[in-house]
């Protein structure tokens, strides 16, 4: 009986996911304790995690719902400023959590304000409108007094460490993954495939587009809050057009409509960028060249719209054991 119960637990997908997540968490934590992941590498690790949150949330909007947004950094900046302003006045863990909550709510509200009128637009027009909005948000931050203008905020209390960022990153991936598997997620995907057809089938296209946009902006705001709290300095310029493009590059490079692709791309691009550090002068030139070459030879991105799943590993291991059997014969 006990064995049966044990088998049920290890076979249950949720339990397996949890075991993998705990394993990753413990592994990295041990590496940090033993100083194999040095302070310098930790910065890269945090950047990767924040980029994963940003890329997965933009993938929900662009990859799964098919709405092309060029303003993701704008929502990130709202979250960053919200969290920074709250934790600077309330430098406790409670303040930090309140800051994150405020970041999520505020960027969600702005996402709704931006999304409701602009999501009626299609394709490139939406991209331009979101680009315009994120620029306006940036200019407002440059000119407001409370955000300290172009110099930005500094000495933001640092709360984010590996456990926190892992908790939020894994949470984001799990939540968005589950959202996509729900009725709402399927409705979003149907809009990407064919908006007119899905409307004919009774999907309220505008409502789902706005929902996906708001959910995406909420997570972008959260990523911004984590960024502010880890790097303790934020400037409006950091959240400009280039940052939005950076996030979009991760999403397209990983594959539009692939969560695991976004995660993989965030890691790969961070590794490339770290390796290029030794060519500091021409780093961006090489990065740009690499981007062009990758797009010419693999326009669908690393993963296309496929996912890395447990089944894939099982098939792989089955294939290996089959090969062994063959060898025996």
């Amino acid at each position: 009986m006990a064995a049966k119960a044990g088998k049920f637990f290890t076979n249950h997908p949720a339990v397996r996911k949890l075991i993998i997540l705990i394993a990753i968490f413990v592994l990295v934590q041990v590496l940090i304790w033993t100083d194999i992941i040095s302070a310098y590498l930790q910065v890269t690790l945090m950047t990767i995690c924040i980029n994963i949150i940003l890329a997965v949330s933009l993938n929900l909007i662009t990859g799964f719902t098919g709405q092309f947004s060029l303003g993701h950094a704008g929502f990130m900046s709202i979250g960053a400023y919200a969290c920074a302003l709250i934790t600077m006045r309330m430098p406790t863990i409670l303040g930090f959590l309140l800051g994150i909550l405020a970041a999520i709510i505020l960027s969600g509200i702005v996402g709704m304000v931006v999304g409701l009128p602009t999501l009626r637009l299609r394709g490139d027009y939406l991209a331009i409108a979101t680009l315009g909005f994120s620029e306006i948000i940036r200019i407002i931050f440059v000119n407001l007094e409370i955000t300290n203008g172009a110099a930005g905020l500094s000495n933001i209390p640092q709360f984010v460490n590996w456990p926190w960022i892992f908790f939020f990153t894994a949470g984001t991936v799990l939540l968005i993954n589950n959202f996509l598997k729900s009725t709402h997620g399927r409705a979003c995907i149907s809009i990407r495939e064919d908006e007119i057809a899905s409307e004919t089938m009774g999907v309220a296209a505008t409502r789902y587009k706005v929902t996906a946009f708001i959910v995406g902006s909420c997570f972008a705001g959260m990523a911004g809050a984590l960024y502010a709290s880890y790097f303790y300095v934020i400037k409006p310029d950091y959240f400009g057009f280039l940052k939005s493009i950076d996030i979009l590059i991760i999403v397209v490079f990983g594959g539009l409509g692939s969560i695991s692709g976004s995660i993989l791309a965030a890691v790969v691009l961070a590794v490339i960028s770290t390796l290029l550090q030794s060519f500091a002068d021409i780093r961006m030139v090489l990065y740009a060249l690499l981007l062009i070459i990758i797009m010419i030879f693999r326009p669908q991105g690393l993963m296309g719209s496929k996912e890395i799943t447990m089944d894939l590993f099982r098939k792989f291991s089955k294939g290996l054991s089959l090969n062994k059997k063959k060898e025996r014969v």
């Binding site: 331009i128 620029e135 200019i139 326009p299 669908q300």
Partner: protein, 294 residues
């Protein structure tokens, strides 16, 4: 009143350069539906070519302008052939990312070559440096030349598009590329020609902006590029007269806002106009509304 007239003149010269850049955006978008992010960097390259012609080669204004236009034309065609043509049948977002890649490549290639700092254009001498005083208003000959050259180029463009065979091919391809190919039009050549025209105009704008504002740097293209794009959207993207009107409108608005309201908000106002236009009339002033086909 004097201030208004002065701002009007400044706005017209600024608007001319926006209009020239916007034409490139609108033509390329009209023909292959691509927001060519590299366009604003061709404008930057134009400014640098003009700078080196004026300083190293000691050439005058007209030869520098022509050389900058020629080099930008070659650059535009090369970019189209190398980076965009292999992706003709790929998803549009992949082409867009490639365009961003090209843009970053040009910007940071230039930073690696000449450094990220500002370089200043030489003081112009002779006829072009003269100033005309009408009461309290000062018009520099430079501004007159900029508006004049821009208007001349736009008339030339109208002539090419409306009266020549290549222009007819351009209009046909932007209407329906497949049908144009069936009619025996060389679509690839037409697309290259469009890039040539757009890049030449951006190059001219680059030299003239360098002369007007005196300072150039490798990342100078980004903001004028986005504003020119806003101008193209305002006029109706894909429409050539629309881009001209849009360019002048955006130039005037920007100058008026910094003159009468607050120069800090001039960029925000431009983007607010963009969003208003997109919400009220997404096809812009002169754009065609496309019927959706099922």
């Amino acid at each position: 009143m004097e201030q208004f007239l002065q701002q009007l003149i400044n706005g017209l010269s600024l608007g001319s350069t926006y209009a020239l850049i916007a034409l490139g955006y609108t033509m390329v978008y009209g023909i292959i539906k691509l927001i060519n992010f590299a366009h604003c960097d061709i404008y930057m390259i134009g400014a640098y070519v003009g700078f080196y012609c004026l300083t190293l080669l000691n050439l005058g204004f007209v030869p520098s302008l022509l050389i900058a236009m020629a080099i930008c034309t070659a650059l535009g065609v090369a970019i189209e052939k190398i980076a965009y043509k292999p992706l003709r049948n790929s998803p549009r977002i992949a082409v867009l990312i490639t365009a961003i890649g090209v843009s970053l490549f040009l910007e940071y290639g230039m930073v690696a070559l000449v450094g990220a700092g500002v370089q200043s254009y030489p003081e112009m001498t002779g006829f072009i440096a003269t100033k005309i005083n009408l009461g309290d208003i000062t018009i520099s000959m430079m501004q007159v030349v900029i508006v004049g050259v821009s208007v001349l180029l736009m008339i030339l463009l109208q002539f090419i598009v409306k009266k020549t065979k290549m222009g007819k091919a351009m209009r046909a391809v932007s209407l329906d590329a497949d049908a144009a190919r069936l009619m025996g039009i060389n679509v690839d050549a037409t697309i290259s020609f469009t890039f040539m025209l757009g890049s030449a105009f951006a190059g001219a704008a680059g030299v003239m902006v360098g002369m007007l504002y005196k300072s150039i740097r490798p990342l100078m293209g980004y903001l004028p590029g986005i504003k020119a794009f806003v101008a193209a959207v305002f006029g109706g993207i894909g429409s050539i007269p629309g881009a001209m009107i849009g360019g002048y409108f955006i130039g005037l608005v920007e100058v008026m806002v910094s003159g009468y309201v607050n120069s800090l908000y001039k960029d925000a106002v431009v983007f607010a106009i963009l969003i208003l236009i997109l919400i009220i009339k997404p096809t812009g002033l002169m754009g065609r509304a496309e019927r959706e086909k099922v």
